[in-house]
Symmetry: C2
Subunit: 490 residues, 2 copies
């Protein structure tokens, strides 16, 4: 299998040719959500980026095993400090539900939203609560290798010791000395040897609901552990790609690297891919700033900051319009522009299907196709890909206006190109189809009402009465007025 796909590897900080470990198989692990509230804009971006990657790899002929986890174990709000309340249990208390009911409820809406965004489901969607044994086994391995210690029923990863043999901070570029000087001094109550050590297992307070027996205590796993345990279980000790948001790079992914390396003596991930963050009108999204927008709100327009609803495909198109390593700023203006862009693209698809072939063609589809692949191969550059596709849009509109020509083969080639890139790889779809029928119905009724008016003007009362009666049978009532006629559906 030949490919020329270069991916920016966050570990090496450069674009590298993607070569899978076991061609034609590709192992892809992506950090999924903690399911304790509705999915929001921040969930849409990685979902769409890694869907693009998944779709492109499938298009290239790879067999992708795409694993995306669900974090449903009640982690503490401030994991690092070992403080705060567990967010799922907090929500359970607020909504008077069992924690696992909270998980199920928000998992369902997450799935619904991602389906609306037209992302393909992952091959495996493992849940942290479903892999407690695997996490405990990993802790045992890390303890055996001497990179963790047990205190009062909790187990902590020994970062200093690990750093003596391996390199802690290699992904995020954080240097341990800086971490040491920047973190709070431990007081006598703290169980950790160093403030940058992190929990592998936490002994549960008596009131903690989500807890399991273990060799160390009745407790729960540390947050970073599940991804190391589940990626190993489903993709092996070494696998191709690990993805997630840039905010997860430290400490989450750094700790994952440390855990896997400590346990297996080698690094597990070959390509790290991180999407950049989103902002809203230039600000970070946060509940406290009142600019926290869920996907349901975005799709319905039901949020004080939104001037209108934005369809799932508008959101998808908008996110694909930016390269994944750039920040994306959401604003009504930008979303409205994306909506127009998507409409223009879909209208061209529809126009293309109506074009008549000429004898000759002035468009080099083969060249355009090459450029489309080049864009994707250059670190999944979807904005450049879209700009190439809009060259074809421009040409199609020129043909439609009679200023250009296209032959049979050219028509076929552009149709194939659009199918491959717009629908297949970019995963866009035409949302107007249902609405078109509704619109069409209205237009057709207007024509009939006008024709009836003509008949009335000609004083052909039997014709006008017959039209009124026929429409009535279809549930459409004509209402005559002084200056013409209106209609309404019963």
């Amino acid at each position: 299998m030949q490919n020329n796909l270069f991916i920016y590897n966050s570990l090496s900080k450069k674009k590298e040719l993607f070569i899978p470990l076991h061609e034609p198989f590709v192992g892809l692990y992506v950090c999924g959500p903690t399911v304790y509230s509705n999915a929001h804009l921040g969930h849409a971006r990685p979902a769409i980026l890694f869907d693009l990657l998944d779709r492109y790899l499938l298009h290239l002929g790879y067999k992708v095993r795409y694993v995306r986890n669900i974090t449903d174990v009640g982690h503490l709000e401030d994991e690092n400090a070992g403080e705060g309340e567990d967010r799922i249990t907090k929500k359970a208390r607020q909504e008077k539900l069992e924690p696992m009911e909270v998980v199920q409820k928000y998992l369902n809406t997450y799935h619904k939203n991602l389906e609306q965004l037209n992302t393909l489901p992952p091959s495996i969607e493992p849940r942290a609560s479903g892999h407690i044994i695997e996490q405990q086994e990993l802790i045992k391995e890390i303890l055996d290798k001497g990179f963790a210690y047990v205190v009062n029923g909790s187990v902590y990863f020994d970062v200093l010791k690990y750093n003596g043999k391996y390199n802690y901070g290699k992904l995020s570029g954080r240097i341990l000395e800086d971490l040491q000087s920047n973190t709070r001094v431990l007081d006598g109550q703290d169980e950790k040897r160093n403030s940058f050590d992190f929990a592998l297992w936490k002994k549960a307070a008596p009131e903690h609901i989500m807890k399991w027996p273990s060799p160390w205590s009745i407790g729960f796993p540390g947050w970073h552990l599940e991804c190391s345990a589940m990626s190993t279980k489903y993709l092996g000790e070494e696998f191709d790609i690990h993805g997630g948001g840039m905010d997860l790079m430290f400490p989450h992914h750094e700790c994952e690297i440390a855990q896997s390396t400590a346990a297996h003596g080698k690094e597990s991930v070959r390509y790290w891919i991180h999407n950049n963050m989103i902002t809203i009108n230039g600000q970070k999204m946060a509940r406290s700033l009142g600019n926290f927008i869920t996907l349901d709100q975005l799709f319905s327009g039901d949020h004080p900051m939104l001037l209108q609803p934005y369809s799932p495909m508008t959101i998808r198109f908008f996110i694909l319009q930016a390269h994944y390593r750039s920040t994306v700023d959401f604003s009504n203006e930008a979303l409205q522009a994306a909506e127009k862009g998507l409409q223009k693209l879909m209208k061209a698809v529809s126009t293309l299907n109506k074009l008549k072939a000429a004898d000759s063609s002035a468009f080099d589809t083969e060249k355009l196709k090459e450029k489309c692949y080049e864009a994707l191969n250059d670190d999944l550059n979807s904005p450049v890909l879209l700009s190439h596709l809009f060259e074809a849009v421009k040409f199609i509109n020129s043909v439609s206006d009679g200023n250009e020509k296209i032959d049979e083969a050219g028509l076929k080639a552009i149709k194939e190109l659009f199918n491959t890139f717009i629908f297949g790889i970019l995963g866009l779809k035409d949302e107007t189809k249902g609405k078109e029928d509704e619109h069409l119905t209205g237009e057709l009724i207007n024509i009939i009402v006008d024709l009836r008016q003509d008949a009335k003007n000609r004083k052909e009362w039997d014709v006008s009465d017959k039209i009124r009666q026929t429409l009535k049978e279809l549930g459409i009532v004509i209402k005559d007025r002084k200056d013409g006629a209106d209609w309404e559906r019963e």
Copy 2:
């Protein structure tokens, strides 16, 4: 909270007034599917029955915690004999996938099909593979109480010993002496003390993929164990209702009772509800008989035995037309009849919305409502409920034909009644809405084409040309023929 709901309890073999343990909460546990192939007719029946129960309890004001498990641990084909291959792994080998990819794939289609059938999602959908620790803890309790024994890394439930203190067979009515005389004699190789003993934990063969460490061996839990462990975890040691298909009564539910009673010293389930089986043209459904029909096939019509597609609501209506404790026989004739019945019901809903109020009414909606509740309270008698609703259908049609009258209050009452029972509790929905628009569009175009023909007959060529042009702009092309005109959409 007042209710008068009587449920047939499979344990007492009689209808009992339903009184929840902790009003207003109701705990409902239902056995879900083993996800190793597409969902079929046999999955639709319990899904719809327990959705009806869930919806009715919610309507009565209860807060229902509805738990439905997913069996995703690779159990053996012949669990009882400890023989055969594990079905998920077998499928994984056939489809060249990881077992958990098989699970995910068929879980996704199960969810899709159940959404098509308009069932509400359960509050919690726990997976067997996600509760291995809980199952191991339950085994320890049963071992501690002396009702199980360990042999070569496997753990078996000691039915004889259990029966000495409790009553094995009370749900299914099987008597241990009969079981003893009817089951095969153990050969020297068998680990079990008695052939009717069942596995709580099985040591895995080296080639077995889905396995976990345990105090006894690297292995996997017995099939019956997950439901005992997960119902206890999410609903408590004692809970209200346990449901499932009648085929699960023995050995599955019998073993569940034994496990929970052995561990907790008391019975856990207060009401056992079992749906009866389905047949196809009078035969049991089986792959070997060629009459195995998946829900996707049923909805698409793509199966040699099907004369046409049957919509999800046709299937739902058909299943609700029979009482859940009766068998249901699927045939094209019966499904076509259900399709007609559903159409008649939905047409009446639509007619109802168009009726004009008169001064008086000849229909006692209050009486009908009482009868509807009576039907549901009599062990969820949905066929009787439907027959009552069809009394209203008959009346609505009479009003529409001008033979009966209904006043404003009566209209409002029937609309409420229909909303409550047809859409709310029976969970039916109108599937024709999208199709109606398509049909309407065709009808409207026909009217316009006829009017154009009239214009042509009057030799008003400018009118007929204008109509042609206007339709063309809407993407509809008129094709003149000798004897009139046809049209097609571009």
